[in-house]
Symmetry: C2
Subunit: 336 residues, 2 copies
């Protein structure tokens, strides 16, 4: 059933497995003991950071298959994406796996985008899919800003791209796991922010837009959920999101941002917090899904937020269009 931009699943698909692989800085952060695998050599013995990111995805795939005791042949397709030009981290990672692949580009919104599309694919004959996203600090810095060797100074509004990959197995039906009750697809929103060192400000309006669309379509409010998670708005974007929603009469008092959960801003020198397609993917897997499975949370909104610029568009003086996709998650016992 569809209400506005929200697809509500009559038979909600179930997240039955999750995995996250993190890098060095992630291993020093508050979620360090919750990752399935931590690689303090963020180059993974590869000659380049770009290749290393593919290794993160490969390890994440292997973790998912192993933890869920699944043969690759049981997976109907893998939906994945990343921040590299032409999504090469994902495509190159998939060379080792004989499984259909659907490449996505939603920048840091990729994790929720993949879960949303994947949930819908499960309504049309598929039984089991994987959604996955990754990012790599070193690859992203030279992709979007300047090579690390340049030693550029970081602005206080800048965010630190998570080096990691996170993914989930979603099944059409399952007795145990976390249900995806609905998915809200985002629109491209551009508030004319041009500062590539302030992604939070650029993305907040897209996050607000998708949340408002969801609340309007479903009649729900923030307090109907244990928590409302955003992907990587960071310190700056989180404050702006609350302001934007407040102006619409919505008090987002139970908000948490994955970018503020994955690192400790006080001690880790990450300026406004974490970011990257891997940010919401890893926090989903390390923190959100385990809490829903344990029952310490019953239901949440999980929204990933993406800034859709490239180095080319930035250098050409363009503003930064953004998008946010949302999924509504509930522990298996929770009735809608």
């Amino acid at each position: 059933m569809k209400k506005g931009n929200t697809v509500i699943f009559e038979n909600p698909p179930v997240i039955t497995c999750h995995a996250a692989v993190g890098g060095k800085r992630e291993s020093e952060g508050p979620l360090s003991d919750k990752f399935d695998m931590l690689l303090t050599d963020t180059k993974c013995s590869q000659p380049t950071w770009e290749k290393a990111e593919s290794v993160f995805q490969r390890y994440c795939m292997e973790q998912l298959l192993q933890k869920s005791n699944t043969q690759l042949s049981e997976i109907d397709c893998v939906l994945s994406g990343d921040l590299q030009c032409q999504c090469t981290a994902s495509s190159y990672a998939m060379r080792g796996f004989e499984v259909p692949h659907l490449g996505l580009y939603g920048a840091c919104s990729t994790m929720a985008q993949g879960m949303a599309i994947g949930s819908m694919l499960l309504q049309s004959g598929m039984q089991k899919i994987i959604a996955m996203a990754s990012s790599h600090f070193c690859a992203a810095e030279r992709q979007f800003r300047t090579p690390l060797d340049y030693g550029g100074k970081r602005a206080p509004t800048a965010q630190w791209t998570v080096t990691g990959a996170g993914g989930v197995v979603i099944e059409r039906e399952a007795a145990q796991g976390v249900k995806i009750l609905s998915a809200t697809l985002g629109q491209v929103i551009d508030y004319d922010v041009k500062d590539i060192n302030n992604m939070g400000a650029a993305m907040a309006p897209a996050a607000a837009h998708t949340l408002l669309q969801f609340f309007k379509a479903t009649g729900k409010r923030p307090l109907d959920y244990d928590k409302v998670f955003t992907g990587d708005l960071g310190f700056v974007g989180s404050a702006l999101l609350k302001q934007l929603l407040s102006a619409e009469g919505i008090n987002l008092c139970n908000h948490a941002d994955c970018g503020l959960l994955v690192f400790d801003r006080e001690s880790q020198n990450v300026e406004a917090g974490g970011s990257g397609a891997g940010c919401s993917a890893c926090v989903l897997s390390c923190e959100i899904l385990p809490s829903l499975k344990r029952g310490t949370m019953k239901n949440v909104l999980f929204m990933s937020t993406g800034a859709l610029m490239s180095q080319t568009t930035s250098l050409q003086g363009e503003s930064i269009p953004c998008i946010a996709h949302l999924t509504e998650l509930a522990s298996q016992e929770e009735k809608q």
Copy 2:
């Protein structure tokens, strides 16, 4: 119903409208009078080629809405992609449209990928979606090879990226149009080709793999169709595809390649033929769908083929992984 990697639609969705916008070289080719719009100023009065490509997509969207007499609010979502880093042609084009957007990256396989995913989304509550893809010769050359100003010599195996955008409206149900009977999702295949001036050779194995998967799953053969279309294998890749299939005992005698239909190799100086995400998208709209609607063809296989490298991976000495997604199309009267 799912057989192997092929999803067969019990209630096949229907392509009810199609549109294509081409550039200067397309206006001089064999399909010139079949485009909905031709822009001989391939910069579209924009300061850069990248921005111009977004204008091609915008015009294509406008043509689709106008031709199908559809309000934007009736569209459940737009699935689109292109070849630019971070898919900016698509994201920036969508700024002007208040409609949910799902960004795809499948390189030149994007058109079939979008149609495949879109068809499945229509099984889960959506009524009407748009799938679209674009490419731009000038943007692609500097993206993947060298800036045009460099004046690099073109190899005989090189292909000419189509400057254009093509798209379709797909509906859950409709009395008139072209049915999508099934969709086969491709796998990432890498035969270790490293020559970025020979995309056809790189992509042929992926095309062969997807076709073989489809024939194996369904028991069909090439001659069950009026024609088997590939996206942009060009002269070199088409010959290799036939060889690869012949080795598996399949005679692909009714094959046509969109890259060989969109340009005249004799007179247009395009070396091995056309390519780009816009290539199969435009030929689908200009040639394939009109023939199916007129009834001069009853059913076809339409497969887009994508080479998934980036300039970064090429410069890092990597090979070129490829993918091909397939859709099975039939005129409305045709029974499966």
